[in-house]
Amino acid sequence: MAYSDKVIDHYENPRNVGSLGKDDDEVGTGLVGAPACGDVMKLQIRVKDGVIADAKFKTFGCGSAIASSSLATEMIKGMTLEQAAAIKNTQIVEELNLPPVKIHCSVLAEDAIKAAVEDYKKKHPGT
C-alpha cells in the first residue's frame, strides 16, 4: 500500500515520543487498543491551568497508527481539555489522507485522547 507523504513524515520523524509520569498529578494517561488486534496507543497529557501543556505518545501499530498518534499529540498541545475531547477522528483522516482500511487508526487516536482526558479528570474531580 502506498502511504501519503504526511504519514511517512510522521512515521519517520514522530513528534512527541516518550512517556510522562503516570502517577504525576498533572498527567492524564490513555491506553487504548490491544496487542492481539495489532495496535496499542499510549497517549499522555500534562495539564497546567486547564490547558494541555505537553503531550507524549508511544504506539505499537502500523505506520498509519504511529502517524495518527503523533499527529494527535501535535493537535492537542495548547488546547483545553474540552477542545481536545472534541477532536474527531475525521480531522486526523483528512490531515493524513488515510485510506478507508486505515480509518480505525484515527478512531484509536481519538479514543486515546478521550481516555487521557478522562484519566486526568478522574484525578481531578470537578474539573
Binding site: Y3, V32, G33, P35, G38, D39, V40, G63, V101, D111
Partner: protein
C-alpha cells in the same frame, strides 16, 4: 519511487543495490538463462504445438516435449506425466476437483491441512459446498503433521489427501514419504496430492520415491516465467482426473487450451538450471539464512522463529519481533522487499492463518516477518539486511508502549485491553 538516501537509517554498502529483493516465496525473477531460452519461441518458432502438418508445429511440439523431459527430471517422474496449466492454482484445482469428480463412486472425502495454500483450502471449501466431506488437520506448534495423524483421518471413503511438501510462509517441510505410506496402508485406493511449489528446485525431489499420485508445480517460484505451471499425474498405476476446461482435448484430455510454448520452454529451462544448481545452491542458501538468523538474534532479544527450523527450506526465515507491529517494520524495511504475517498487510485485517494454525498468539503473529532468500541474494545483502532490521526494530521498540511495559516488568496479559 526509490526513497531518498536522506531518509535511510542504514546506508547501503558498495555492491548492494537498493531496493533489494528478499521475498522469493512470493515470486522469483526470471533467470537470464531461462529468458534466453524462451526468446526464439516468441517470434521465430511461434508455431502451435498441436499443428501436426507443418514444420512450425513440429518445432513447437519438439520444444514442449523437451521441456516435459526437463520438468520430469526435476520431480523424478516421466515426461508423459506432465500436464501443463496456467500455474499452480490451476494445477491444484485440477487435481482436487478432477480427482474427486472422477472417483466419486469410490467416496466423497478429502483430507488436507490448515497451513496449506489458499489454492488448496479454497478449492476444498468449494468441494465442501458441493457435498464433499472435508477434513482439515491442525499441525503441531512446529508446523508439522504426523503420518499417523493423517492416516487417522483417512476413511474407506477418502478419495484424496492433499499435503504440501514445503510451506510458503514458514518453509516447513512435511514428512511426505511417511505420510503417503501411512495413507496407503490405511486405504490403498486413496490418492495423495502434494503442492510441491515451494519445494521444487529447492530440495531434492522424487515423486516416485515419495509414491505420490498427483503434484502441483509453478514456474515463477523457481526462476521461470509467470503464467505457467504443471500438474504431475501418475501413469503407473494410472491416476485419472476429470478435466475442468472443455475444449480441444490437449494434454491427453486433461487440460484443453493451446500450449504457451515460450512459457513452457522457460519452465523447462528453469527446471534444468535448478537441477544443475541444487547441490551447491541449497547449502549456500542455508548458510545465508543461518547468517541472517544469527545476525539478528545476536543483537535482538525477544525474537521467535515460527515453525520448525530443522525441517525447513534452506532459504526461509519466518521470525516474530515481539512488541513491534509487522507492517510498521515493513515500512522501515522499505529498501528490502520482504513480507509480514501482520493483519495490516492483508485486506482481511486478520493475521496470518498459517501462524495461527501453529498456535502463535495473535500479538506475536502481528509482529512476524518472512524472509525468502533466493538465487540472486548475496552475503553483502544479508549483512545489510541484518543492520537494517536491528536498527529498525530498536527504533520501533523505543516507540512501542508494549516494549516499555515489558522493560518495566509488566505482564502484558495482566492488562485489561480494549479490543476494537
Amino acid at each position: 519511487m526509490a526513497p531518498s538516501t536522506a531518509t535511510r537509517l542504514v546506508p547501503a554498502p558498495a555492491g548492494v543495490a537498493l531496493p533489494l529483493f528478499m521475498d522469493n516465496h512470493s515470486t522469483t525473477p526470471v533467470d537470464p538463462r531461462v529468458l534466453e531460452a524462451m526468446l526464439p519461441y516468441f517470434t521465430q518458432h511461434f508455431g502451435n504445438a498441436a499443428s501436426r502438418n507443418h514444420a512450425f508445429g513440429w518445432a513447437a511440439e519438439a520444444a514442449v516435449d523437451h521441456a516435459r523431459g526437463q520438468i520430469a527430471a526435476l520431480v523424478g517422474g516421466d515426461a508423459r506425466e506432465i500436464v501443463f496449466t496456467s500455474g499452480a492454482t490451476e494445477a491444484i484445482n485440477l487435481a482436487l476437483k478432477g480427482a474427486t469428480s472422477y472417483y466419486k463412486k469410490l467416496g466423497n472425502h478429502v483430507v488436507t491441512v490448515e497451513t496449506e495454500h489458499k489454492a488448496t483450502l479454497d478449492t476444498c471449501k468449494r468441494l465442501q459446498r458441493e457435498g464433499v466431506e472435508v477434513t482439515v488437520l491442525r499441525p503441531a506448534a512446529d508446523g508439522l503433521v504426523t503420518p499417523q495423524q493423517v492416516a487417522d483421518a483417512v476413511t474407506d471413503k477418502t478419495v484424496v489427501v492433499s499435503v504440501m511438501l514445503a510451506n510458503n510462509e514458514i518453509g516447513v517441510i512435511q514428512p511426505l514419504g511417511e505420510i503417503v505410506a501411512a495413507v496407503k496402508a490405511k486405504n490403498p485406493r486413496t490418492l495423495v496430492h502434494s503442492d510441491i511449489v515451494q519445494a521444487a528446485g529447492k530440495i531434492p525431489l522424487d515423486v516416485e520415491a515419495l509414491k505420490l499420485d498427483l503434484a502441483s508445480l509453478s514456474a515463477h517460484k523457481m526462476y521461470g516465467p509467470k503464467g505457467i505451471g504443471a500438474l504431475w499425474v501418475r501413469r503407473k498405476p494410472r491416476v485419472r482426473i476429470d478435466p475442468i476446461l472443455d475444449g480441444g482435448g490437449h494434454e491427453r484430455g486433461m487440460r484443453s487450451g493451446t500450449l504457451p510454448v515460450p512459457l513452457i520452454v522457460g519452465f523447462g529451462k528453469a527446471a534444468e538450471v535448478a537441477v544443475a544448481d541444487l547441490p551447491t545452491e541449497a547449502p549456500r542458501l542455508r548458510a545465508l539464512r543461518d547468517r541472517l538468523l544469527h545476525g539478528i538474534q545476536a543483537r535482538l532479544v525477544e525474537t521467535y522463529v515460527n515453525g520448525s527450523l530443522e525441517h525447513r527450506l534452506p532459504g526461509n526465515l519466518n521470525i516474530s519481533f515481539a512488541f513491534v507491529e509487522g507492517e510498521s517494520l515493513l515500512m522501515a524495511l522499505k529498501d528490502v522487499a520482504v513480507s509480514s504475517g501482520s493483519a495490516c498487510t492483508s485486506a482481511s485485517l486478520e493475521p496470518s492463518y498459517v501462524l495461527r494454525a501453529l498456535g502463535v498468539g495473535e500479538e506475536l503473529a502481528h509482529t512476524s516477518i518472512r524472509f525468502g532468500l533466493g538465487r540472486f541474494n548475496t552475503e553483502a545483502e544479508v549483512d545489510y539486511t541484518i543492520e537494517l532490521v536491528v536498527t529498525s526494530v530498536e527504533r520501533l521498540r523505543e516507540l512501542s508502549p508494549l516494549w516499555e511495559m515489558h522493560q518495566d516488568g509488566i505482564d502484558l496479559n495482566s492488562i485489561q485491553w480494549t479490543p476494537h
